[in-house]
Symmetry: C2
Subunit: 342 residues, 2 copies
Amino acid sequence: MLRSDGETVRLSLAELSDLLAGVFAASGVAPAQAAILGDNCARCERDGATSHGVFRIPGYRASLASGWIDGRATPVIERVAPAFLRVDAQNGFAQPALAAARPQLLEMVRACGVAVLAIRNSHHFSALWPDLEPFAADGLIALSTVAGLACVAPAAGARPVFGTNPIAFAAPVAGADPLVFDLSTSACSNGDLRIAAREGRPLPPGAGVDRAGQPTTDPDAVLDGGALLPFGGYKGAALSLMVEVLAAGLTGGQFSHEVDFSGHPGAETPCTGQLLILIDPSRGAVNAPAERIAGLLQVIRAAGVERLPGDHRYAQRRRSDRDGIALAHAQWAELTACQLPS
Amino acid sequence: MLRSDGETVRLSLAELSDLLAGVFAASGVAPAQAAILGDNCARCERDGATSHGVFRIPGYRASLASGWIDGRATPVIERVAPAFLRVDAQNGFAQPALAAARPQLLEMVRACGVAVLAIRNSHHFSALWPDLEPFAADGLIALSTVAGLACVAPAAGARPVFGTNPIAFAAPVAGADPLVFDLSTSACSNGDLRIAAREGRPLPPGAGVDRAGQPTTDPDAVLDGGALLPFGGYKGAALSLMVEVLAAGLTGGQFSHEVDFSGHPGAETPCTGQLLILIDPSRGAVNAPAERIAGLLQVIRAAGVERLPGDHRYAQRRRSDRDGIALAHAQWAELTACQLPS
C-alpha cells in the first residue's frame, strides 16, 4: 500500500513499522528489539502523537551511536513475589524489557488480582500509552509512570530536579476503544518543547522559566539553562514527586536528577526506571466494570464534554488506517537511507 | 492535659479523640466505629487540616440523623485473590471498613509484594492522608482514591459529573516522617469551598463556575447550582476521571454522579467507593528505597523548594503535641453537649 504523490509518502502501519525496525537495526539494535521499537514508534506516528513518532528517530540514533544505551541488552527478569516482577533492563530500552516480562506479568495479575512490574536501568524515549493500551484491550486496568531527565523545577525559582514524569492510565470500555491517557506532570512535555523550539512557536504561559528562574514562553530560553514547570502548581509538583518515588525509588532505577550522560555526547535517552501496576477489575467489581465505565463516558459526553482522553488519537488512527500514515517524501527517503548499516 | 483560659480549650489528641468518639456514639455509631471516627477526626484537627476536622461534625451528625448512612454497619470482607481484598461497607463509613481489612491486607502485601483493597458502599467524609500515613510508617508505599458527590464539571460549560476526587500517596522516608500528600483533583476542595462560603472569602481564579457555566470566584455562586473545576485543566480532568474508574468502576461503588441522597434531607456524606493500592518497596528496589527517598527530598529542598507535601501538617502536629489542640470554648462546650444521647 506504499503510495507516493511525489511530496508525500503514505505507508501502512506494517510498512512504517518495518522501515523503522530497519533503522533501529542499522543503528545497532538487536533484530527482535528493533521490531518492538519500530512498531512502537510507528504506532505513535500513526496516532498523530508526532512528538514521539518519527521525530524521535535522530535522538534514538544519536543515543545508540554515543554508546550511552545498549541496543542488544538482554533484560534480566526476577519474580520476587507472587505479584511482583522485577526487571533489570541492563541499560537497554524499556519496551523490550516490558515485552519480555509481559507473559509472566499477565499470569500474575490473573492469579493474584493485581501485579507490579518494576523495571530499572531502562531507557524510555517514547510515549507511555502504547505500553498500556494492549493491557486495557485485554480487560485490565493499567497505571504506569516513568522518570526522565531533570528539566522540571518543582517550583518557580528552584533548580530542575524532576523529569517531565508522565503518568499513564488505561481501562477497558465495553464496546469501544479503551480509555487511555498519558500526561506529563510538567506543564509542557519535552517533545512539545522541542517541537516548539524547532518551529519557533511560543510555549503556553506558565510552562517554563529561564535560567534566572523568571517565567518565559520562549522555548529556547527554557532549553538554554532554564526549566519547565509542573502543571497545576503544587499539585502537579506533588504528582511529579510521586512519579520519582514510584518509577525510580521503588524500582531501583535512577532518579531524574541522577541521570548523567555528559560522558556520551549525542545521548538523549534517560536511563531511569518504569513502574507498571496492573489490576484485574473483574476481581473488584460486583457488576461489569467495562460496561459501567462505558456508561460513565456517555454521561460525561452528555454533560457537555466534547473531547475525552484518546479521542484525537483514535480519530487520527482511523484516518491513518484509511489513508495511510503520511510522511514527507524527504523524511521517508532519509529513513530509507538510514536502514543501510553505516 | 485539658486546659482552658476561658476562650480557648486545649486538648491532647487522646482527649479530643475521646470527646469526638462520644459525639459519634451519641449519634448512633457503634462504639468501636465511633472510636475510629473520633480518632480520625481528631488527627485532622491536630494537624491543622481543619476542613476535615471538627468542622465536619455537624455534617456527620446530620447524615447519621437522616438515616442515609448506617453507623452500625458491619463490613463484609472477601479475599477474592491472593492480593485482592474486596469489602462491602454495607452503607457504613469507609474508615472502619479499612480498619477491619487492615490485618489481612498487610499479610497480603507482605506475601505478594502488592495488594489492592476495593471498598464499596462506603462513606468517606474525611481526608485520605490519615488512611495512608500508618502504612508508610510501616515501610509501605500506599496510593488511594475515593469518589464523591458530583460537584466538579469536567470542563467549563459542562455539567458537574465528578466529585472532588482526591488522590493520596504515602511513602516511607528514612529518619523522617513519611512523605504523604492528599490532593483533590478539583481546583478547590469541597471543605475549602464551604469554609470560603462561611467566611465570605473569594475562591482562587479558575476554581469554579456559576450556574450559567461562567467563571466565578464567589463560593456561594458555585454552591448555588454552579460547579467546581478540575485543577490544571484537561490533565486534572483526566486524573479525576481516573479516580471515578478506580474508586467506583473498579470497586463496584457508585460513581459520583450516581450518588442521590435527595430522599434523606440533611445527608452530606457520599456513598461511593475507595481504592487502596499497597506496594512493598523492599521487593522492588535493589537498594534501600526509604534512604533513597530521603536523599531525593534533600535534593529537592537544596534546589530551592521551601515547602514539601506534609511540611505544614507535621509542623502543626508538633505544635499541637506541645501546646494541645486548640478549640474555641463554645465549640468545645457544644461538642461536650452532643455527647449526651439525644
